[in-house]
């Protein structure tokens, strides 16, 4: 939720919704992601050069895409020098048609600046990412969850194993190619004694 005064709002077209007297104002269509340029992105660019792939502003929230290999260094820099002390959340989004199908999303918060920042790194199916659990301890369980539900491997994680599903479960449910009715029927039969899950 970074409000950046240096970024210009794109020219908005007048809303076409019919106004009814006494009703709430017609909603504005939120702007599509627009390039973001501020002090922070300038410093990141200076320091990491091409490892910073781009910065956008979506619904007034700052998103910085970074090179997966540099994720730990950039995280460390964000925590130590840009005072993003807390890793609020770490999760992933699966885009199976892309060459690098996974977006790993880190949601950072700075108490000092009262600002949020989203770091994004991309990973292909069998590619591993550096773990940030040495930067923020909170990443320990969050990365385990990511590994459990998406099958993304975090290099350097102290104890990477499933957290929500049973250890022997096969498959990663939050991948788009894992059907909602699908489950590890073998595991269910062996451990719960249920013939067919659904």
């Amino acid at each position: 939720m970074v409000d950046d005064p240096t970024t210009k709002e794109p020219p908005s077209t007048p809303p076409v919704t019919r106004r009814v007297p006494g009703s709430a104002p017609p909603r504005e269509v939120p702007p599509a992601p627009i390039p973001l340029e501020n002090e922070l992105t300038r410093r990141l660019n200076e320091r990491f050069g091409r490892a910073v792939l781009g910065a956008t502003l979506d619904r007034k929230q700052a998103i910085v895409s970074v090179e997966a290999g540099q994720l730990r260094e950039i995280s460390k820099y964000c925590r130590e020098e840009e005072s993003f002390e807390m890793l609020v959340d770490l999760t992933a989004v699966d885009w199976p048609k892309r060459e690098k199908r996974f977006d790993v999303v880190l949601n950072l918060y700075s108490f000092t600046k009262n600002e949020r920042l989203r770091l994004k790194a991309h990973a292909a199916q069998n590619e591993s990412l550096p773990s940030v659990s040495s930067v923020w301890e909170a990443a320990n369980w969050l990365e385990r969850e990511c590994f459990d539900l998406f099958g993304i491997v975090f290099e350097g994680h102290p104890d990477l194993r499933r957290i929500l599903l049973p250890d022997e479960w096969k498959g990663h449910p939050l991948r788009k190619d894992y059907d909602i009715l699908q489950q590890d029927t073998e595991w269910v039969r062996e451990n719960l004694g249920i013939e067919s899950g659904q």
Binding site: M1, A24, R27, Q61, V88, D159, R162, L165
Partner: protein, 384 residues
């Protein structure tokens, strides 16, 4: 004999059999069926006599795949599901979700709706804290407070029931505002409840705050330093008890919180007693917000004009609210269709529970129950 394996190896399920324990050490399983784990939490404790050397939380018993379900429902259809995550604070979950989708759409609920939302959410916070107070005290051995706490909680549930027909999984809000107008005596009911509540909280405090047994069981137990709390992503009362004055309602106001005056209570030592005392004070502050809000509920529409079919423009949004347990966030990615492409719930209980290992290290086995209670977890939210 010295334990040869370190923490990481102890945590590895395949290696439990081969973990070399010290001569005096045993491994004790607590849960998942244990009355004071507040749901289905399993804690594996490594004990040296009565002292906890190490511990590991095993979760997932209540995993229902809520985030997967979201990808197969429309935005409105998914709204009732969020109530089932933190099922003792359904209204707060609903507020976070509805506001996140509104933000994704670029809409905002009308002021009247936001004020009513604020009142109901604060009542829910009080209800959640009352449930916590009763069960936490019961875990430690104080049998009385639960009867008082449930008596007041019932009043709140009655207000919910009169408002929307449901008591627990209320689905009180809709994307864009509210489904229902407030009922005729809503203001009077809220005001009467809040007027009484101040005295009632004093009553709970006479039972516990200066009680020698209570102090003995909670002071200095499960200490979490501010630095650790921040590193571990702990939020909510647990963070404030460690001395960090931070609350989403103040830092990034949502609903109608910027209209009201309230304080953020903090304590310094970060032990079980401080977490208790922060929550007690929070109930008073929530009462204060409710009293200010019912005085003057603005008129006007209760629903923004957003249309019946919601198709947010492609993009993503993160929005969080201060739930009773901590920062409850929703990260929603839209691909421009009527179904969300991805919904990620940032559950406060999940991250707060991660800090349990740190808090329990070196504690007595009886304190484990006190510490679990003081984190105030709901497993429905941890496992989703």
């Amino acid at each position: 004999m010295k334990a040869e394996r370190e923490t990481a190896a102890f945590g590895n399920a395949q290696n439990v059999e081969t973990t070399v324990l010290g001569a005096d050490e045993i491994i004790l399983n607590m849960g998942p069926q244990h009355p004071s784990t507040h749901g289905v939490l399993r804690v594996k404790l490594r004990l040296d006599g009565e002292r906890v050397v190490d511990s590991e939380c095993i979760i997932g018993y209540l995993h229902r795949g809520v985030e997967k379900i979201a990808e197969h429902r429309s935005y409105q259809q998914f709204a009732p599901y969020v109530d089932r995550m933190d099922y003792v604070a359904a209204v707060s979950n609903g507020l976070g979700y509805c506001e996140a989708v509104e933000k994704l759409l670029g809409a905002e609920a009308p002021l009247r709706a936001r004020v009513v939302r604020t009142i109901l959410t604060e009542l829910q916070r009080i209800a959640s804290h009352l449930l916590w107070l009763g069960t936490h005290a019961l875990d430690i051995g104080a049998l009385t407070p639960i009867f008082y706490a449930f008596r007041e909680r019932e009043e709140i549930l009655k207000i919910f029931e009169k408002y929307c027909g449901a008591r627990l999984t209320t689905h009180a809000f809709r994307i864009g505002g509210l489904q229902y107008e407030t009922y005729d005596t809503f203001e009077r009911d809220v005001k009467r409840f809040c007027d009484d509540l101040g005295r009632k909280i004093d009553e709970y405090e006479t039972l516990l705050t200066a009680n020698r047994i209570w102090l003995g069981r909670t002071r200095g137990v499960g200490v979490l330093s501010a630095a650790d709390a921040i590193a571990l992503g702990v939020t909510g009362p647990a963070l404030r008890a460690s001395g960090v004055k931070w609350d989403v309602r103040k830092a990034m106001p949502y609903a109608a919180y910027d209209r009201y005056e309230f304080d953020i209570p903090t304590r310094d030592s970060g032990d079980t007693y401080d977490r208790y005392s922060v929550r007690i004070e929070e109930m008073r502050q929530s009462r204060r917000i409710c009293l200010q809000a019912v005085e003057d509920i603005p008129g006007g529409p209760i629903m923004a004009r957003i249309g019946k079919v919601l198709k947010p423009p492609p993009g993503e949004v993160y929005h969080s609210v201060e739930g009773p347990k901590g920062e409850l966030g929703y990260y929603i990615v839209s691909d421009g269709t009527i179904q969300p492409y991805r919904v990620r719930v940032r559950p406060p209980s999940f991250l707060n529970l991660q800090a349990f290992q740190r808090m329990a290290k070196g504690a007595m086995i009886a304190d484990v129950v006190a510490i679990i209670g003081s984190i105030d977890i709901v497993l429905g939210e941890v496992d989703r």
